[in-house]
Symmetry: C2
Subunit: 272 residues, 2 copies
């Protein structure tokens, strides 16, 4: 332990996951520049927000980036009924020409827990691949199902092995829930950041040009539903961000009331 | 190019993918032992068989292994109708205690092309997430659909970026088909092998014990269907191999006839 040159472990000391994540992701890029590939395992951390934050940053630095994290158990194994795995997201990003790039970020469950809860609250039927529901009349949700069945279970286990097992942290189902007691105990979440330097394999500019060519090719594909274009991972988020820069961020009445309350309580007001 | 210490490119010179794959996978493990992580990109290769061959070998050597390869286009992007991506499989393996370990190996399409063809030949209906079918009366299969929708497209693009784009090879849709003319042209398939040395992050024996603990935990999960156990990726293949070691390998009449024909033509007979 400690002799490796392209692999590091960072002990976050129970810091905010966002702080630990930014540090670890910068270190992974630094290692990749020196060794062609760099990996940083993070222990004793917390929820790090959206995984794409880190892979987009790695891509901005010219690296191909992967960011993985475990989380508390919500997903049953394939053919199981009880939550055993976190939604254990995977984000991948690669730089294209200029500012553009591909960025995928997805949970290894078929759908998110918030989607299932939203459908339930609206009385809409759940699709069979989404969740395990209880036997009772209320059919409460017991667990989410893994992405595409056994394949998603494989991805969830890959993330669990590369994050908490490689960092010597508790298993997904041993983590306390993000929104639940005890709030005064360390959660011991684990992450993994992996960066590749394209320039270690081929001419970096040629690589970036090929990523942009792939992006154009995807967007030019004929769609199944006329008018609904085929998109590159990251496109929907880019479109949403561009729209909100012009129109602002829509808030529900509840959210607006919460902001008003914070404003009153703290006296902090910032207006554009 | 060339200065990186933990990343290499191997030009397979149009050799059999199985030969190139074995060499590259051994080199990835060697790099991981020295640097904590090792990556080998392979260019100018051919079909390398099952990706699990390489990750199982990496796990046998005590490493966590990932093996990716691109292939000729069969899979449409999410919302598209034409094949653009190969089935671009991902295999992941990690060593447990003794001989045991986890090994997942799956295409980034929802199901395999052979499954779709088999269902079609039996007149069985395809599930909606499996394939794009043509508009004609025969409803011929235009393309496979990606695993779980847009998430599978993200995985397919990740494999395309990490394999042919990082190796400077043609895109998936530019590859000639595996079973189709021209057979006298190089196919220029690309692979990526990634190995992690658990001992660079924590005590290797403790890591392997935790993988075995995770495997036991998964197998002990209550099943949704009584009698149908929950399994670890690799368990179905292990069970099948154990059964066939005792009972032999079942052959269809066509397969048996083909073997008889080869026997007659070559005079080569090997009996147990």
């Amino acid at each position: 332990v400690g002799k490796a040159t392209a692999a590091r472990t960072l002990d976050a000391g129970h810091a905010l996951g966002l702080v630990a994540g930014r540090l670890a992701c910068a270190e992974a890029v630094r290692l990749a520049r020196e060794h062609g590939v760099g990996v940083v395992s993070v222990r004793n951390s917390n929820h790090f927000g959206a995984a794409a934050v880190y892979t987009l940053e790695m891509a901005r630095q010219g690296a191909i980036g992967l960011a993985l994290t475990n989380s508390d158990a919500l997903v049953a194994p394939f053919g199981g009924v009880r939550p055993l795995f976190g939604t254990n997201p995977i984000s991948f990003a690669a730089p294209g020409e200029g500012d553009e790039g591909v960025c995928a970020d997805f949970a290894t469950s078929q759908v998110s827990y918030s989607r299932v809860k939203h459908y339930r609250s609206q009385g809409l039927p759940l699709e069979p691949g989404w969740a395990v529901t209880g036997m009772g009349e209320d059919g409460e949700i017991s667990a989410l199902k893994p992405l595409g069945g056994h394949k998603g279970q494989g991805l969830a286990m890959m993330v669990e092995i590369l994050c908490p097992l490689l960092a010597g942290m508790p298993f997904d189902h041993e983590l306390s829930h993000l929104y639940g007691e005890p709030y005064d105990q360390p959660r011991q979440v684990a992450h993994l950041f992996l960066a590749f330097d394209p320039g270690a394999f081929l001419d970096a500019a040629a690589f970036r040009a090929s990523v942009s060519r792939l992006m154009r090719l995807v967007r030019e594909q004929p769609p199944a539903v006329p008018g609904e274009g085929v998109r590159v991972p990251g496109d929907p988020e880019e479109e949403c961000a561009a729209r909100r820069r012009v129109e602002g961020i829509p808030l529900t009445a509840d959210e607006l009331a919460a902001f008003r309350r914070i404003e009153e309580e703290t006296g902090q007001v910032e207006k554009p």
